[in-house]
């Protein structure tokens, strides 16, 4: 009985006939990956009422192995490390709920809290449409957007100045995002070019802001000859990358068919966040936190990439891009070779990125950050819900000398699997603790790895390519732009229909352009040699040095710390006392010393925004969050306030 159901689950996830699935072949070799494995455990939980530990469900598992595991878990009354929470519908779906930790980061970024931050953290993309019905398309799009906003409450989300979020009722003014139409069907070529460039520039540099309106901005430029461009900008505060994929699919599916109905969702993002809140401080949660503490005890530095400017001193408005696509044939070959080497494509790409970085930085051990779009398998619907679920995970990468790429990749794959099975604690919190331990206010993970390879399969139905009055989507004609705070360099691997995209997003002001070009070319060449085969058995050339060498040159590994710590002692004056009292109220701990650090006392960046807002009520002028981070002590803040007050008005 169980065996049949497990076969059915695999059949569904892998798009195979359940009857033909071999029982002794790994999930990975059958085309599965870690994203699908998480979904598998959610389905097992739902259909068989058996809780699998996150560490149990690896891509190496076979159907027989899974059957044994399920039988054993069922017998022993659940997993050793089951998730002790259920997602439940909240009684009031419009009630406010807290920001997730990564959302907090974006929120603080929007307040100019971080170095390398922007007015909005957002993703912008536009894609070409052909065969568009210019008369019907605007209404079809507006209608689809409205139906989608009813289906997915996160499209009606707002973030309050205090740093909480809530969903507006559908009939609230401005709740439903409305598309803007640029009708250029009768325009001249030059005008079209100018308008499109203008829209692109505007939407790339000014993202929609859920603090004042919808977190989503959709526009349609109608062009001559039945062509059009669909522009979408999404604020990362309310929508993550996974949601972007969902949104595109569902929007096009609804636009294609006036009568289309999406499968109803039993839960929403707020339900998930509320459930996660209950997870905190449970035994499995503290076990994960302790695991990370242990793992990061001797964590390496970020890669020592040479810089031409201190990240603190640059004010970027846009991130630069390098991009290439792997042909469908090569991408398929790469997938096959990854499976043959028992590693996921994500693990292989992380290894390749690590090799390219090691050559660029001159050392082999480094701390990377990763954006995690996985959602905890708390509910089978979770993968179809739009929201800002994303989290981060720190990835210490170590590439020992003298190993073939295949051996390196297997090591990275093991580490990744191990880390992913301890994902109850967000990497944002882990980073915070690491920064606290290192006594730094500089970003601990400014180099980011992101892979959504395999996500398409996890979301379910394939991309709609024909969208009714909106015509056909040409994914080959796709332009995009990302802005995320606290990131110096981010690599992204994702599937674009049947191709694999490799993209660098980076703050150009920080790096020598030719070095970026060289590193990107190095990475692409490595990925291609992996797709073609020979790359696996070669020993990649790597630097002799393990850890980032001490040097006086400015690199990402060693960024200068700010001002010296102030002298310890009781608050020296009324202002310092006022700050102590305020922090004490906010943090719930005594604040007795002028050298006490806001973050050491347990504060986080979100509370920092609040602390400054409240202090402003007393003192008028307060420094920005970014200035505060340079000297986050009682005395440091008092000095910054005084400096503000004394500065001549501009």
């Amino acid at each position: 009985m169980t065996q049949t159901e497990l076969s059915e689950i695999w059949g569904e996830l892998l798009d195979l006939d359940p009857a033909t699935i071999p029982r002794d072949t790994s999930f990975l070799r059958l085309g599965g990956d870690s994203v699908l494995a998480v979904r598998m455990s959610a389905l097992v939980r739902k259909r068989l009422a058996v809780e699998l530990a996150l560490s149990d469900v690896t891509v190496e598992i076979t159907l027989d192995g899974l059957a044994d595991l399920v039988a054993w878990r069922a017998e022993s009354g659940g997993a050793a490390r089951a998730l002790p929470v259920e997602v439940e519908r909240r009684p009031d779906p419009l009630a406010p709920f807290p920001l997730m930790s990564l959302q907090q980061g974006y929120f603080v970024g929007q307040h100019d809290g971080w170095e390398l931050s922007y007015d909005s953290a957002h993703f912008y993309g536009d894609v070409g449409l052909t065969g568009v019905d210019g008369e019907e398309a605007p209404e079809a799009l507006a209608d689809a957007l409205q139906r989608l906003a009813l289906h997915q409450p996160a499209l009606r989300a707002r973030v309050t100045p205090e740093g909480a979020q809530h969903v507006l009722p559908p009939d609230a003014p401005g709740a439903i995002p409305e598309p803007q139409i640029h009708d250029l069907r009768k325009a001249e070529e030059q005008e079209i070019e100018d308008v499109l460039a203008g829209v692109r520039h505007e939407m790339s540099t000014t993202g929609p802001n859920p603090m004042s309106g919808p977190g989503l901005d959709v526009r349609l430029s109608l062009l001559p000859g039945g062509r059009a461009r669909l522009h979408t900008a999404m604020n990362l505060l309310t929508l993550d990358g996974w949601s972007a994929t969902l949104l595109n699919r569902e929007l096009l599916a609804l636009a294609a068919d006036w009568n289309a109905v999406l499968a109803p969702l039993e839960i929403d993002f707020g339900d998930y966040v509320t459930a996660l809140g209950r997870l905190r401080d449970t035994e499995p949660w503290t076990a994960d936190r302790d695991w990370w503490r242990d793992r990061l005890r001797n964590a390496p530095t970020p890669p020592a990439l040479p810089l031409r400017a201190d990240p603190r001193d640059v004010r970027p408005t846009l991130m630069g891009t390098r991009e290439t696509h792997l042909s469908p044939e090569r991408w398929e070959a790469l997938r096959g070779r990854c499976a043959a080497h028992d590693v996921t494509p994500s693990a292989a790409m992380l290894t390749a990125f690590g090799v390219a970085l090691a050559r660029w930085a001159g050392h082999r051990r480094m701390l990377l950050n990763s954006l995690q779009l996985n959602r905890l398998p708390l509910h089978p619907d979770i993968h179809r819900v739009i929201g800002a679920f994303a989290s981060t995970m720190l990835l210490p990468v170590d590439l020992p000398e003298g190993r073939t790429f295949a051996e390196l990749a297997r090591g990275v794959h093991r580490d990744l699997t191990d880390s992913a099975s301890h994902n109850l604690v967000s990497g944002v919190e882990v980073s915070r603790e690491l920064a606290r331990d290192r006594g730094t206010t500089r970003p601990v993970g400014p180099v980011v790895f992101q892979s959504t390879l395999g996500m398409d399969a996890a979301v379910g139905a394939a991309h709609t390519e024909s969208a009714g009055p909106l015509g056909d989507v040409d994914f080959a004609d796709f332009h995009h732009q990302l802005r995320t705070p606290q990131v110096a360099l981010e690599v992204r691997f994702y599937e674009l229909r049947d191709r694999m995209a490799v993209v660098f997003s980076l703050v150009e002001e920080l790096f020598e352009s030719d070095q970026v070009d060289a590193a990107f070319a190095d990475l692409v060449a490595l990925v291609e040699s992996l797709a073609d085969g020979p790359g696996w058995d070669l020993v990649p050339e790597l630097p002799m040095t393990s850890d980032a060498p001490e040097s006086t040159a400015l690199t990402l590994a060693r960024l200068p710390e700010s001002a010296d710590a102030p002298a310890s002692g009781p608050p020296a004056d009324e202002l310092e006392q006022q700050i102590c009292d305020l922090w004490e109220e906010l943090l719930g701990v005594p604040v007795l010393d002028r050298a006490a650090g806001f973050f050491t006392l347990g504060g986080d960046s979100l509370l920092a925004v609040r602390a400054l807002a409240r202090l402003a009520r007393h003192t008028g002028a307060v420094p920005t969050v970014r200035e505060f981070l340079d000297a986050p002590t009682v005395a440091g803040l008092a000095a910054a306030v005084r400096a503000r007050a004394e500065a001549p008005a501009l």
Partner: protein
């Protein structure tokens, strides 16, 4: 002649050490050999004495100018030795003994102390804990925070005292004082406090001593915390109180909990007082920290100081708590020079 009762104990031997050579000492204990072992010089003479034998006790007090009592447990001793000292015309210093002991002495049968002094709570806590904050009250205060604690071995007798720190005459847990009212305070878990090592746990406890101090100094708000380096002791105490039954049964758990703490950080003890003056710009100290490796031994230093202050005629006659009659600046000055005090900061 100064008589030191319980002179071979943890507290008593420090009293003997600090006074020996400068005064004639009579060192009393149940066990003559143990008392003899702590007598370093010709001027200190060991004496066998049984607290609960009135004749033996009277004989011990006879001829003493001051009797310093370090024998416990104080909830049993109460005013027993104080009365014997008074009967012999001697001044009296009790290194422990609190309100209950003082009230007992003031009760029936009435004792006429004449020109004699009788001070209780001449130890660390209560004692220094009620005395030293006065150094910060050079001007009206809106707030006074007191954090006292650390990691120290707890003997069986002290465990009993710890288990008794509840109820009328001792104090109220989980509150502080605002004006004339109490206000609820939450325990602080894993907080960093100046003068303490790493992260500590602080349990609000409005002791009778601190309550009286708040009234006397007219402090707007008073928060008093007992600080532990782990949660072992508060947990052991809470379990004992929840369980009820005879105190003795819970002693081993409290003793073991203190061992846990010692294992965690090694022995240290901190007194931290911090004040917020009513007039923000007013000059004067805001923080006092004092650290010692051994809180029991430091009680002995305080008792010895109290005895000398009395001998020098700097304490007014009558029955008092030490904190109410000792001169805080003089005591701090003496403490600063003592080897048991690792550092003192008045900022």
């Amino acid at each position: 002649m100064i008589g030191v009762l319980g002179g071979a104990g943890t507290v008593g031997r420090v009293v003997v050490d600090r006074l020996a050579g400068r005064y004639e000492l009579r060192v009393g204990g149940r066990d003559l050999e143990r008392a003899a072992a702590v007598c370093p010089t010709e001027t200190a003479r060991p004496v066998r004495v049984d607290l609960h034998d009135p004749e033996s006790l009277a004989a011990f007090c006879d001829g003493c100018e001051v009797v310093v009592n370090c024998a416990g447990p104080s909830y049993q001793v109460l005013d027993l030795v104080a009365r014997a000292a008074a009967a012999a015309g001697a001044h009296y210093v009790d290194a422990a003994g609190d309100f209950a002991a003082l009230e007992a002495l003031r009760g029936e049968p009435v004792v006429d102390l004449g020109e004699s002094v009788s001070v209780f709570s001449a130890g660390l806590m209560p004692g220094l804990s009620g005395l030293l904050p006065r150094l910060l009250a050079t001007r009206p205060l809106t707030r006074l925070d007191c954090y006292v604690g650390g990691a120290a071995r707890i003997g069986e007798l002290s465990a009993v005292d710890a288990l008794l720190t509840r109820g009328p005459g001792f104090g109220t847990p989980l509150v502080g004082r605002r004006g004339k009212e109490t206000m609820p305070l939450a325990p602080l878990q894993k907080v960093a406090l100046p003068g303490f090592r790493g992260k500590v746990h602080a349990w609000p406890f409005l002791s009778a001593e601190m309550d009286a101090l708040a009234t006397e100094l007219q402090v707007g708000e008073l928060r008093n915390y007992t600080v532990y380096v782990t949660e072992s002791i508060p947990r052991a105490l809470a379990e004992a109180w929840a369980d009820g039954g005879p105190l003795e049964r819970h002693v081993p758990a409290v003793v073991a909990a203190a061992e846990d703490d010692l294992a965690a950080t090694g022995p240290y003890y901190t007194l931290l007082f911090q004040a917020v003056p009513r007039a923000p710009a007013s000059p004067g100290p805001r923080r006092l920290t004092l650290r010692t490796p051994d809180s029991y031994a430091l009680s002995g230093v305080v008792a010895a100081i109290a005895a000398e202050e009395i001998l020098h005629g700097r304490v007014k006659p009558g029955a008092h708590l030490a904190a109410d009659v000792l001169d805080p600046a003089a005591v701090l000055d003496r403490l600063s020079g003592d080897p048991l005090v690792t550092d003192v900061e008045l900022l």
